[in-house]
């Protein structure tokens, strides 16, 4: 019996795209009008993806290791559009990306199609979830990403445009357009662009990818979640007090993570908070365990909030007064360092039914 899902029968190379759209001039207004008329774009001004610009975007990066430009990198739901490097480059140009960042985008798109990510759900849910890209290692400085002050904010071309390119790829190739392919009730600002970099220089622990078995000079992590939820503590050198604040942010009953005991959290520590923990002799695993222990409340409180929940059976058997963890394993709490001076950090609850993926990047 022939299997209809036989990957051997899948085409490896797309029919390809060519520059066939007519644009009278490079006037930004004309480009915007053309894209609006076709239902494309994110509502912000775009850079015209001319043959020359796309060729230049394809030319810098993976070198001899780069696959042919029309080879299919991924098939992206819900539209099941075929993403080739050339098409990724088209969207990178549209987003205003500097040449050189295409390998980061390509690895991020591969990560997005990992089953753990659950891209169909991420794109189509009513939840406001957006993929966050975290760039690690040598690529950060080489490609101009900002891992320091204001890493989540504006002002850095690489952060802003790579995050935007991923959104344009999801809109155009994956078809996650509002209404048809994205049922998001309210959306969130990170659906425009969501990209930061790990501040390895100020991380007192091993870098994030190495902790998760990715031994590469550069890497990118994709996690699909909410906007960052800030917490600040400017008063103490006691790691437990700081992490109690983080745990209180993790405990919000309005989060999609609350009814799912296997859900993942990212806790992005500012360098000063991380240093306080390292000075107290804490490892990254100590931070995870502390957050796991502190992020809990009475089982009855959870039950009062959720009639429908995907919890482990052991939790269902708890008495109302027993303490229930918001997530069932310290390993579901991912910790890394990003940002600059100041005593602020943040929690990023995931969408719940998704797990992060880290892949190497060749730059």
């Amino acid at each position: 019996m022939e299997c209809e899902d036989d990957v051997c029968a899948m085409p490896l190379v797309s029919a390809g795209v060519r520059p066939e759209l007519d644009l009278g001039t490079e006037d930004p207004e004309e480009l915007m009008a053309l894209f609006e008329a076709n239902g494309w774009g994110d509502g912000l001004p775009l850079v015209a993806p001319t043959e020359e610009r796309v060729a230049a975007m394809l030319a810098v990066g993976e070198g001899e290791e780069a696959p042919p430009p029309d080879e299919i990198v991924a098939t992206l739901p819900p539209r099941f559009g075929q993403a080739t490097r050339r098409l990724l480059a088209v969207n990178a140009v549209l987003a205003g990306c500097p040449n050189g960042v295409l390998p980061v985008i390509t690895s991020a798109v591969r990560a997005l199609t990992s089953p753990e990510i659950n891209l169909q759900g991420v794109n189509a849910t009513t939840h406001p979830v957006a993929p966050l890209l975290i760039v690690h290692g040598k690529a950060v400085k080489k490609l101009g990403f900002n891992s320091g002050r204001g890493t989540f904010g504006p002002g850095c071309r690489a952060n802003a445009t790579v995050g935007r390119a991923i959104r344009l790829i999801l809109l155009h190739i994956a078809g996650s357009t509002v209404g048809d392919g994205d049922a998001s009730t309210q959306g969130q600002p990170s659906k425009y662009s969501y990209c930061i970099a790990e501040n390895t220089e100020e991380t007192p622990w091993e870098a994030f990818p190495q902790r998760y078995g990715v031994d590469a000079e550069s890497a990118v992590t994709v996690t699909c979640g909410e906007n960052p939820h800030n917490f600040h503590d400017m008063e103490t050198d006691n790691p437990e007090i700081i992490l109690e604040k983080a745990a209180s942010v993790m405990m919000t009953m309005g989060s999609n993570n609350a009814p799912l005991s296997f859900a993942e959290f990212f806790v992005v520590l500012g360098p000063e908070h991380a240093q306080i923990m390292a000075n107290a002799g804490w490892s990254c695993a100590d931070v995870q365990r502390c957050l796991y222990e502190k992020a809990k409340t009475r089982a009855g409180v959870f039950r009062r909030h959720f009639q429908v929940a995907n919890w482990a059976d052991t939790i269902r058997e708890m008495d109302d007064d027993e303490m229930m963890h918001i997530t069932d394993d310290p390993q579901n709490i991912k910790v890394l360092v990003a940002g600059g001076p100041g005593k602020h950090s943040c929690v990023i609850p995931s969408w719940g039914m998704t797990k992060s993926v880290t892949l190497p990047v060749t730059v």
Partner: protein
């Protein structure tokens, strides 16, 4: 001036979702004795216990010809017809 369109071709998903299984309370379980010593008793006990816990129906045991050969085509067809789940053993 010519520019690229941003969407590209539509493919199809590599993996489709499997049909959701029935609730175990509606399931029928067959034990398949692989003809190793003691296997029939072990398989039958496990199948009955699972049926008891989940509310499934234990249909009975079937036996293949020998431990060293694949299950026969007609027996396979019978099992497909009679059961939603099969409990069997492999090797020793």
């Amino acid at each position: 001036m010519k520019i690229y369109a941003p969407e590209g071709s539509i493919g199809r998903p590599i993996h489709g979702l499997a049909e959701a299984p029935k609730p175990m309370s509606e399931a029928r379980i067959v034990g398949l004795d692989n003809r190793k010593p003691g296997a029939a008793l072990l398989i039958e006990s496990a199948a009955k216990r699972i049926a008891q816990i989940t509310g499934a129906t234990w249909v009975g045991n079937r036996s293949k010809g020998t431990a060293a050969t694949p299950v026969e085509d007609d027996l396979l067809a019978e099992i497909v017809n009679d059961a939603d789940y099969v409990i069997t053993g492999t090797a020793d």
